[in-house]
């Protein structure tokens, strides 16, 4: 059974003359442990799709099902609970709370869930070490580089043991090297730690790390590609993706 499935999603912003259709009849499914990328030109609705998948926003029509629940049917506090326990989020900027250090930031989802501070700290520390930030545990965000901040965000996304990670342009703000580190880390998240990862990106190189790529244009899915494993290694995957993007643009 799919981890998460979207059925015929439509999202319209505004009304009357100023109505904007962000998504038109989008349906997809994400399997456990799958690494999916969503791509498309700007304004195509990819971030919107991600937000709907994560229960951050509600569709105008259609349904998002997680664990058999229709997210639209859930009240706010149930949705909030799902965000705490079942989904991890990573964003492009301003991921971390500036007044908390790395461990505290990482521990946030489970602290909010009521886990005792001691245990929360321990689990957070464990994840931070796993992703290689064991020497920066008590650093605040302003003491970390962009790449390190995003790594903390990844750890935070994992600390509650969610089944699904959603990332919106996680490398958009980083240089090439840091971007590739994050992409590799997310790959590890899917392979080694068995979570489903869905990222939105515009960068073909990063998308090449995924198992499957969904292409959106003007709010609808126009193409889909399944990638060979490790096609990011030799740059061929990236080339192919870039080619597809260009073709979409014509």
């Amino acid at each position: 059974m799919s981890l998460i499935s979207a059925v015929n999603l439509n999202k319209v912003y505004g009304s009357g003359d100023t109505a904007v259709t962000a998504l038109k009849g989008v349906s997809l499914q994400v399997e456990p442990g799958e690494f999916m990328a969503i791509m498309g030109p700007s304004g195509c609705g990819k971030s919107t799709l991600l937000h709907l998948l994560g229960g951050l926003d509600r569709p105008t029509s259609g349904a998002v099902m997680i664990d058999g629940h229709n997210l639209s049917d859930l009240p706010d506090n149930k949705l909030t609970e799902i965000r705490r326990r079942r989904i991890g989020f990573i964003f492009q900027f301003f991921n971390l709370i500036p007044v908390l250090n790395a461990v505290e930031n990482t521990a946030l989802p489970i602290t909010l869930d009521g886990v005792r501070p001691g245990e929360a700290k321990a689990r957070a520390t464990e994840w931070l070490r796993k992703i290689g930030l064991g020497d920066r545990l008590d650093h605040r965000p302003d003491q970390l580089s962009g790449g390190q901040q995003q790594r903390v965000a990844v750890a935070r996304a994992l600390v509650a043991d969610p089944a699904l990670i959603l990332a919106d342009e996680p490398t958009g703000n980083l240089d090439t090297r840091a971007s590739e580190e994050i992409a590799a880390l997310l790959r590890q998240v899917a392979n080694e730690w068995g979570r489903a990862v869905v990222i939105v990106t515009h960068d073909p190189r990063i998308a090449a790390y995924a198992d499957r790529i969904i292409f959106l244009k003007d709010g609808a899915i126009v193409d889909q590609t399944v990638l060979e494993p490790r096609s990011y290694d030799n740059g061929q995957g990236a080339e192919m993706v870039a080619g597809k993007l260009q073709a979409m643009g014509d």
Binding site: L56, D57, T80, R83, F89, F94, I97, L100, L108, L112
Partner: protein, 850 residues
């Protein structure tokens, strides 16, 4: 809860200055509220201590309700009541001592500023009290010029058995020989100088009179004793009471007014503090929208977010209140220390430490923390409502606030209407409520008025700034969010309104009182006793002093005031006896009903002039009658005028002829004398002559009328300077409020500012936009503040009038000018930091800010 406190503490620490300023607002409010309420009860407690001092082995003390003296035969009637075992007659008078009277040394503080002269019937007194004489002997019946004092008083004066103690009396200075010493005094109240009853009656020129009868009952159980008390009152009539003497009832009236003023100031300060907190929290919520959205995304519930903000509020509230309590106690101590010598001299009381009642502490904590939490509640709730989406795409989540101004506007208009209507009712509480409604109404209609006002002022600013773009941008920014602009301006509004109201009231009071002052004290010379307006404890003089003054070469007219305590409708009233022939020529009352014909009317039967305060309290108007309580029963007087003099303006006072005062109240002592010199008199010679005349009456101080007027006017100045400083304090919150709003504005328009810079606006142009905004905001606040202040000033006048103090309304021109300048200044000050922040934004970062 842990994460909420952690986040709250971290965020507070991250913005130390702002946290400090916010906490300061609460600190100040609690300081004033708590401090003043420890100070004033200390006074009341001291008064009550004085009263309790009369207790002992005595079951009940019979006195007149007015505290006046009565025929000694009354004691026999009390003795005759069933159940009374023994009585003791007393004549107990407080003698206010002039400054440095006892030690003659201006450098040292006075050892005592008042003494109680107690005349006892020796046989009766020793039956009721056990007097343990440590040195010498107790008084004996038939002693003349002998006295027994306590060891503590003897040590204070450096005297012993056999030495002489000299006191001022109405019959001139008299020396008593100390024949015995009692144990040191431990009770509160003045030290006693015990003499025989006939001695006291002679010294005080009160033959055959006493003012208290101590009694001892036979029965022991509660019910029977109550029956005896009732029997005594039945026998004596309703002009008597069972209670000890209290010499300071008059001043309790003053204290109530003072307490009211300070409590009002405290409440105002706290309200402003609440406004600041509200404003600050709104800023904070806006600044942290991203973080809030992030937390919500991660799964923080609305309650968690709400809790974080409430925790921040709680921390600031608790810290501010705690510091305010400490500071308030310090203020109380400061007040006591500063005022103790003054109080000691004027009303002869040891104030002691400030009174901290558990109820006051709890009340202050509740108010301080409560205001903080309440003020932060709305912003906290709106923070909780931030959806994750709003943080990611703020533009989408924006709520239009325009619809709110619809309902709010009309409610505000209604409130203002009600407030103006309240003026007509002439009821103080209703008027005060009206004042609050007026301000609230202004705040509510402000958002709607923001647009036209902003437009108007931006036009002005455009002229000033020469680049119309700047002013237009500023105007646009404000009109985009009129509610926010209005709320910020409101903080300023309250501050300015208070300033103008204070200026208005001060102006009117000064003019009003100084007119009365000049009239009352306009004589060439005045002879003042140690305590003005607490006549009951002053020792006056017999007619000889006035006569000897008249005999001095160069003296034209001499007029005197005499005093008796009385009651009208169970309220204490100071009754002054004037000589209707000479008084209006040397001094004079200021009439609000009737005119100087009233003086002659006083000579006709029983005429009385009541002062406006008494008229307001009792409802007595021209032509009506009032019942005065006299030592021998009640007496009806007809009101022939409503008018007052400066010295007695704050107390319920009435004026009758000295003839009537003698007949009905048996009082002939002069307590104040005023002298006008004859035409062409030799000033120096006259002064010398007058000084000689009062040499035997050290209780009087000779002062020229002009000097006395100046002395009193400078007291006004001092009091008002203090008020202005207090008001200035209240201005600080306004500035904080404005800084906050401007800061929000800068944050929200980060992209816009980046864009402006990218297309070529210079840093200083950006600064000018923020400055223009600040100036428009402060113009808004100042204009509304001035309007509110003028209204409140008028309300203040009406209130004073209703309470019985006639005032002239004076337009506070200086106040308005100060307010306008202050408003301008605050605008500029508030803009400094946000303007700098805005101009320092890095263009690229700002453009990327979402």
């Amino acid at each position: 809860m842990n994460i909420q406190l952690t986040l709250a503490a971290r965020y507070l620490r991250g913005r130390k200055l702002r946290t400090a300023l916010t906490t300061l607002a609460i600190f100040f409010g609690v300081l004033v509220l708590f401090g003043m309420n420890t100070l004033l009860p200390a006074f009341t407690r001291a008064f009550q201590g004085n009263i309790l001092a009369a207790a002992g082995q005595v079951d009940a003390t019979v006195t007149l309700k007015t505290g006046d003296a009565f025929d000694a035969a009354v004691a026999d009637r009390v003795a005759g009541v069933e159940g009374v075992r023994a009585v003791s007659r007393l004549l107990d008078r407080t003698i206010n001592l002039p400054v440095d009277y006892l030690d003659n040394d201006p450098a040292l503080p006075d050892p005592a500023t008042a003494l109680s002269l107690v005349g006892l019937d020796v046989a009766q007194a020793t039956a009721l009290h056990a007097y343990q004489v440590s040195d010498g002997r107790f008084l004996e019946a038939g002693d003349t010029d002998a006295t027994v004092i306590s060891r503590s008083l003897a040590e204070l004066l450096g005297l012993g058995v056999g030495d002489g103690l000299t006191l001022p009396t109405p019959t001139g200075e008299q020396t008593l020989t100390i024949v015995g010493l009692l144990p040191p005094r431990t009770q509160l109240g003045d030290e006693e100088v015990l003499v025989t009853l006939p001695q006291a009656q002679a010294m005080l020129a009160m033959p055959g009179l006493i003012n208290a009868v101590e009694t001892n009952f036979e029965p022991v159980n509660e019910a029977e004793r109550a029956a005896v008390e009732d029997a005594i009152l039945a026998e004596l009539g309703d002009t008597f009471q069972l209670g000890a003497l209290s010499s300071n009832i008059e001043l309790l009236a003053n204290l109530t007014v003072a307490q009211g003023i300070f409590t009002l100031l405290g409440v105002l300060a706290l309200l402003m503090g609440g406004f600041i907190i509200f404003n600050t929290f709104r800023t904070v919520v806006t600044e942290r929208r991203r973080d809030i959205g992030m937390l919500r995304t991660l799964g923080a519930s609305r309650r968690t977010i709400l809790g974080t903000f409430l925790a921040e509020g709680l921390i600031q509230g608790v810290v501010g209140t705690a510091l305010g309590l400490l500071g308030g106690y310090g203020l109380g101590w400061l007040g006591v220390t500063a005022l103790a010598p003054l109080m000691s001299r004027m009303i002869h009381l040891d104030i002691g430490a400030p009174v901290v009642s558990p109820a006051l502490v709890i009340g202050s904590v509740i108010v301080g923390v409560g205001v903080t939490l309440l003020a932060g509640l709305l912003p906290a709730i709106s923070a909780g409502r931030v959806t994750p989406m709003e943080a990611l795409r703020p533009a989408i989540g924006a709520v239009s606030l325009r619809r709110l101004t619809g309902v709010g506007f009309w409610i505000g208009v209604v409130m203002i209407g009600l407030a103006i209507a309240a003026l007509v009712t002439r009821n103080v509480s209703v008027i005060a409520l009206g004042a609050v409604l007026f301000i609230a109404g202004l705040v509510l209609i402000a958002p709607v008025l923001v647009t036209p006002v902003a437009r108007f002022f931006s036009g002005l600013l455009a002229a000033v700034f020469a680049r119309s773009g700047t002013a237009q941008l500023a105007e646009g920014n404000l009109t985009r969010q009129p509610s926010r602009a209005a709320i910020t301006a409101s903080t300023m509004l309250i501050g300015i309104a208070i300033l103008i109201m204070a200026a208005s009231i001060i102006g009117s009071v000064t003019i009003g009182f100084s007119n009365v002052l000049r009239k009352s004290l306009g004589s060439d010379y005045i002879f003042v006793p140690p305590s003005i307006a607490v006549w009951g404890s002053d020792v006056g003089s017999g007619a000889e002093l006035a006569d000897s003054l008249r005999a001095v070469e160069g003296v034209g007219l001499v007029t005197t005031l005499r005093f008796a305590p009385t009651q009208v409708d169970d309220t204490a009233v100071s009754l002054l006896g004037i000589d209707p022939a000479t008084y209006p020529q040397v001094s004079g009352l200021t009439f609000s009903q009737g005119d100087s014909a009233a003086y002659d009317a006083l000579l006709d039967g029983r005429g009385i002039i009541v002062n406006p305060l008494l008229s307001a309290q009792s409802g007595a108007e021209l032509g009506q009658s009032v019942e005065l309580v006299t030592p021998t029963g009640t007496q009806t007087y007809t009101v022939v005028g409503v008018g007052g003099d400066y010295l007695n303006a704050k107390l319920a006072t009435a004026y009758i002829s000295q003839a009537n005062l003698a007949t009905d109240f048996n009082r002939t002592e002069d307590v104040l004398l005023q002298v006008n010199l004859a035409e062409g008199a030799d000033r120096e010679a006259a002064e010398a002559g007058m000084q000689a005349a009062i040499r035997n009456y050290p209780q009087f101080r000779m002062i020229s009328g002009q000097e006395y007027i100046d002395e009193n006017l400078s007291i006004f100045d001092a009091a008002f300077s203090a008020m202005y400083i207090l008001v200035l304090f209240l201005a600080i919150p306004s500035v904080i409020g404005m800084v906050n709003t401007l800061a929000i504005g800068v944050i929200e328009r980060t992209r816009e500012i980046g864009m402006l810079r990218a297309v070529g606006a210079t840093r200083s142009q950006i600064r000018r936009v923020v400055l223009a905004e600040a100036l428009i905001l402060s113009a808004l606040g100042t204009v509304f503040g001035v309007i509110a202040g003028l209204y409140l000033g008028y309300v203040g006048m009406t209130t004073f009038e209703t309470l019985g103090y006639p005032m002239e309304y004076v337009f506070p021109t200086t106040g308005v000018i100060v307010a306008l300048v202050a408003g301008l200044l605050f605008g500029v000050l508030a803009a400094i930091i946000p303007a700098r922040q805005a101009s320092r934004l890095e263009v690229v970062q700002a453009l990327r800010y979402e």
